[in-house]
Amino acid sequence: MTWKTEEPDFEVIVIGAGVAGSVAAYQLAKQGRSVLLIERGEAPGSKNLSGGILYCNEMEKVFPDFLNQAPIERRITRNYVSFLNQDSSFAIDYQDTRLAHPVNAVTVLRAKLDAWLADQCTDTGVMVMPGVRVDAVLTETTDDGTQVVGVQAGEDKLTAHVVIAADGANSFISRAVGLRPKPKQNQMAVGVKGVISLPRRTIEDRFSLSGDQGAAFAVVGDCTQGVGGGGFCYTNLDSVSIGVVLRLDDLVAKKKAATRVFDHFLSHPLMAAYLEGGELREYGCHLVAEGGLDMVGDIHMGGLVVVGDAAGLTLNTGLTVRGMDLAVGSAIAAAKAVGTAIERQDVGAQALSVYRDLLFASTTGKDMERFARMPEFLERERLYSKYGDLLARIMHHIFNHDGTPREPAVKVAANAFSRSKVKIGQLLSDGLAGVRAL
């Protein structure tokens, strides 16, 4: 049993008012706990970037009327996945109005969403404290090892039964306390993003959308100039979020400049047509955890649990990229575990390990396990350089009627193979690895 009888300043202190931090704080306050939510930005959301679309399922467990009350941009009905080459592209274009009935995924802008989440926290009794950077956690040595007992911000020390580290992908807090290692270069990618203003109507026309429907584009190939990662493009109400995600080990190895790759993608004819006449409204960048399950590692110790991006909870399945829903999933598990631990007056490492159990019993944890092999698969070089070219060669043979008699499809494919740089063995190996990873 690890429990301090003297009353702390707050029962729970949450570091970081992003999706994971705010949802955890909200849930704990609803349980009647005294909660302090500390945010280093001027206001909640001001340090955060949405890297993609928000799958709403988990969020609706916390806020049943989320879709009507939260500041969401568009409801995704179009998913566009493309292999991009210099002069050609091959895409899967999946459009389905069923995705809006009921709504499955939405686009959000974090400055607005996180401000709304923090308001929900305030209304539920959370003390929200923006503009304060937590420098370190306070620890004590107990019989059970190191116990986190509060936080230090400048000169100020604040105590709590439990601290929740929701401090984002860099997670300096859990690193400083020795819980989690510094991430390796191949476990992290940098997302570089522009928000481009365009009139509502123009967006709807260009992306074939009506009303508040939205589109999500995921692109691999020439968009990153061969660097592991991809391009993305999401429609907001009256702007488009567009950019690239670049795996750091490969960015360094290929000696590419991040800004050049970003410019290259936005200037590619396929994307430029969507952006014509637009105006850059904001330019930002943010790290994304790409390590998958391997990277999750230790996420709790005495008096501390780690949630969201800080716990490495991002999932790139090749077709979909998820982070915010996993942040909510981990926050739900954390709030439950922390609430129970405080109720039972034991906040030691053993008691808080319930967080891990709950997380891996939930969809969030199960999906992290399901796609555990994906990061390794996505490190396969050919995905970013050769497959787009191969697909375009096959398509060119099919659609380019040059007056010669048509060849059987098998021969077309075989020809395209022999001319592309992909070997049959490699294709089989990649195909098998891809299926396994899925």
Partner: protein, 95 residues
Amino acid sequence: MKLPSVTDRLARNRFVLDEAESHIHINQELAALTNIADALIACCPAQVYSKAEDGTILVEYAACLECGTCTTIADDAVLSWHYPRGGFGIQFREG
């Protein structure tokens, strides 16, 4: 759409500059030994880093978008990087 230069892009963002202290410090000797300058210059999306004629790495910390790319690719002994003090630095209005 013509993309503005990186400097002009950053000018459209809202920054609250901490004039009292920089949150980025480089150990120039170790940086030279580990040859990290070019990687820092290339990887930073905000172009915070540049090189002086004598090879010293220059740091324009006011432009930092606080992503953490530089601190992930450089050794902690070479580059000391932490978040700016509370309320300072980039303040995204869209996100």
